[in-house]
């Protein structure tokens, strides 16, 4: 056994690259993400009697409260067609964002054990959280559609836009979750800050109100610069009823939609870029 001859020319295996955000093994990335997401989903209502119903309760409770307050107490929004469905759809999409980013912030720290003990692409962690929320969203979407049909709505060609809208929404949440999870490793107050920002997002997005209720045009255009507002507005227009303005119309022309698109792109770039930069050190900094 000749082991003490470091200068010899020799064949070597592949170099170990160290931890990365994505890594080279895509199937492994997807397998891990799926396993983690499904486990999380299963754990949510493992051992609870009503199981999935509890998942549904959260958006439904919020919906119930807002519905009663705004249609019966404040007499607000009731003139919009299918207002309850529009309200529910907004809530369901917001709950998805809040769920995936809220759990996403702490995801790396929560899974410290995995991150420090197993080599795997780090991006799996925040993305699996988003995937769990996505499972929820898909189920909730079915409820929204059923609710729409029950309220007298009909199946429309616009429903074909749903996958695209959900995809954009997922991209939005995923880039936020990615950025926040990496930031949280360094700065622990990202969590309370984000909780406050989420509340701002809730009131700053046409969820319980419809965008046409905003009298000030500039404010309306400003609100429509949020990617979330664009997605919710377009969903209402395409899926619920055409009487809701399309996102482009509400924003004041498709050119103005470039702003939310730019914001989304910037989020993706910054979120992934920061995560990728931090990925090699996450295990040490935890």
């Amino acid at each position: 056994m000749s082991v003490e001859a470091p200068e010899r020319p020799r064949a070597l295996g592949a170099p170990i690259k160290g931890p990365a955000a994505i890594g080279v093994d895509l199937p492994r990335f997807l397998n891990l993400m799926r396993t983690l997401a499904l486990t999380e989903f299963k754990l949510r209502f493992f051992g609870s009697a009503l199981g999935y119903l509890w998942q549904l309760m959260r958006p439904l409770m919020l919906f119930g409260v807002l519905y009663v307050v705004f249609t019966h107490v404040l007499k607000f929004g009731s003139d919009a067609k299918f207002y309850p469905v529009a309200l529910l759809s907004g809530i369901v999409m917001f709950v998805f964002v809040s769920e995936s980013t809220g759990a996403g912030v702490t995801s790396l720290v929560d899974r410290e054990n995995l991150v420090r003990k197993v080599q795997f692409p780090r991006l799996v962690v925040p993305l699996s959280v988003v995937a769990t929320a996505l499972l929820n969203l898909s189920l909730n979407m079915v409820v929204v559609l059923v609710f729409l049909l029950a309220s007298g709505g009909e199946v429309r060609a616009g429903w074909l836009e749903i996958p695209l809208l959900v995809a954009i929404l997922t991209l939005f949440s995923a880039s936020l979750a990615t950025l926040l999870s990496a930031l949280y490793v360094r700065y622990r107050d990202v969590k309370p800050v984000w909780e406050v920002l989420l509340q701002l997002l809730f009131y700053g997005t046409p969820i319980f109100y419809t965008i046409d209720r905003i009298p000030n045009e500039t404010l309306r255009h400003l609100l429509m610069m949020s990617p979330l507002a664009v997605i919710i507005q377009q969903f209402r227009h395409a899926v619920i009823d055409p009487s809701y303005q399309s996102a482009a119309a509400a924003a004041g022309g498709w050119q103005l939609l470039l702003v939310p698109a730019g914001i989304l792109l910037a989020l993706v770039v910054v979120g992934y870029g920061y995560f990728d930069r931090e990925a090699p050190r996450i295990a040490e900094d935890l």
Binding site: V3, A11, G13, P15, N113, F120
Partner: protein, 417 residues
């Protein structure tokens, strides 16, 4: 080792260095940062690994040993790709799986099946492959009847069995194993190693990180000793084991550099230095192997005329038992008279029958008479590490023979009747 494939080492660690930034002050919140914008967030560099290189051949069973904090786990994490190295590179030929901990990702609220699937996926199997092997895993763990039980209700022994079963069912050409054998009883450890042998015979490469030198000597083909992030030794586990004992039991070595606070005597004679010698008469630097002849020697200088002094030495082990006392008190002829300025070396030759461990020598020079009248006595002037591989709980290891004689049953005296 098949010569054709041995050309590429399974793992090559080349000049690997790794340092951690240890913040001297924790600045975890934005508020702290905002309030003290100009305070430099102080970092101390802690060097965990420095220029470590070694190769692991295909099908080899390598042990990496070192004390706590010697950098062995950091090295393992670098090899596993969990930490990025600061310098150097690690090359791997084949699929590598690291087991830093048994049962990573186990969730107490899920039954065995889900946990096995999660754990196996984390360790690199595809979910389909993991499902296919589940039966074999649960059978190996002997937990078939508890398959549906949530693992929070498992005993710790059951958990370890389950986790270990998953581990050996993961396909990997190279296995990195960190201290997993610290858990479990002796029988379980034996089972682990039987399984490791089987894997190795299949051509897998095993790298075991541990501070249990015994396990390394019993099981590994080769060992690497790390101390403070530097590779101290590499090679035969027995030789590395001796090095490990040396670093474990501290300074060791020959020479009289010890402090003088434990010195007694009137100064008419001075013990200048003291050292140990091995069987060839060479100064033993650090350790002596048990069971071999050796010697203790000390140099004495006289500052005044002394008549018929006594020379002696005592050896103490780490528990402060006197394991040996040697002196010229009973020897003839007497030592004679010494003039001022004269020097002498006294040497005690003995067979080293001591158990592995550290021993401190206290040499002394005294005048004959009543009571203790030291000319010079230097407590723990030098020490030596005795190295050996068969640790018993005895203070000394006397040479012995054991004879086994079969006797005919009829020859037994029938005292019980």
């Amino acid at each position: 080792m098949p010569p054709a494939r041995a050309a590429t080492p399974a793992v090559s660690v080349v000049n690997v260095s790794k340092a951690f930034r240890v913040p001297t002050e924790q600045m975890h919140t934005l508020k702290e940062r905002a309030l003290h914008p100009f305070r430099r967030s102080g970092h101390q560099r802690f060097v965990a690994l420095e220029d470590v290189s070694f190769d692991v051949g295909r099908g080899e069973f390598l042990g990496i040993v070192g004390r706590n904090g010697s950098g062995k786990s950091t090295l393992l994490k670098c090899m596993a790709g969990i930490y990025r190295t600061d310098g150097g590179a690690i090359y791997v030929d084949g699929r590598l799986s690291a087991f830093i901990e048994l049962g990573v990702g186990f969730n107490p609220d899920l039954p065995a099946r889900d946990n096995v699937l999660i754990n196996a996926t984390m360790l690199g199997l595809s979910p389909r492959e993991a499902k296919r092997r589940f039966d074999s895993v649960i059978d190996f763990a002997e937990l078939r009847e508890f398959e549906q039980l949530k693992i929070k209700n498992y005993s710790s022994g059951m958990l370890v069995r389950l986790a270990f079963a998953v581990m050996i069912h993961v396909d990997a050409d190279i296995l990195l194993i960190d201290e997993v054998l610290a858990v479990g009883d002796a029988a379980f450890q034996q089972k682990c190693f039987d399984e490791f042998y089987r894997l190795r015979d299949e051509g897998r490469t095993m790298i075991l990180v541990t501070h249990d030198m015994g396990a390394v000597e019993r099981f590994c083909d080769r060992a690497v000793l790390l101390e403070r992030g530097v590779k101290l030794r590499e090679g035969d586990p027995r030789r590395v084991g001796m090095g490990y004992l040396e670093v474990n039991f501290g300074r060791g070595g020959a020479g009289g550099e010890a402090t003088d606070d434990a010195r007694a005597g009137d100064g008419r004679a001075q013990i200048v230095e003291a050292w140990f010698e091995d069987e060839h008469g060479d100064v033993a630097s650090g350790s002596l192997e048990t069971g071999r002849p050796c010697a203790f020697a000390a140099r004495v200088r006289f500052a005044a005329e002394v008549e018929d002094p006594l020379f002696g030495v005592t050896l103490e082990n780490a528990d402060r038992d006197h394991v040996m006392s040697a002196s010229t008190l009973w020897t003839e002829p007497r030592s004679g008279s010494f003039a001022a300025g004269e020097e002498l070396v006294f040497r005690v030759r003995f067979t080293n029958v001591f158990a592995p461990g550290r021993y401190d020598a206290t040499p002394a020079v005294a005048v004959r008479g009543t009571g203790v009248s030291w000319l010079d006595r230097r407590e723990h002037l030098c020490s030596i590490v005795v190295a050996g591989t068969q640790a018993t709980d005895a203070i000394v290891q006397l040479p012995y023979e054991i004879a086994l004689e079969r006797t005919a049953p009829a020859a037994r005296p029938e005292v019980l009747r």
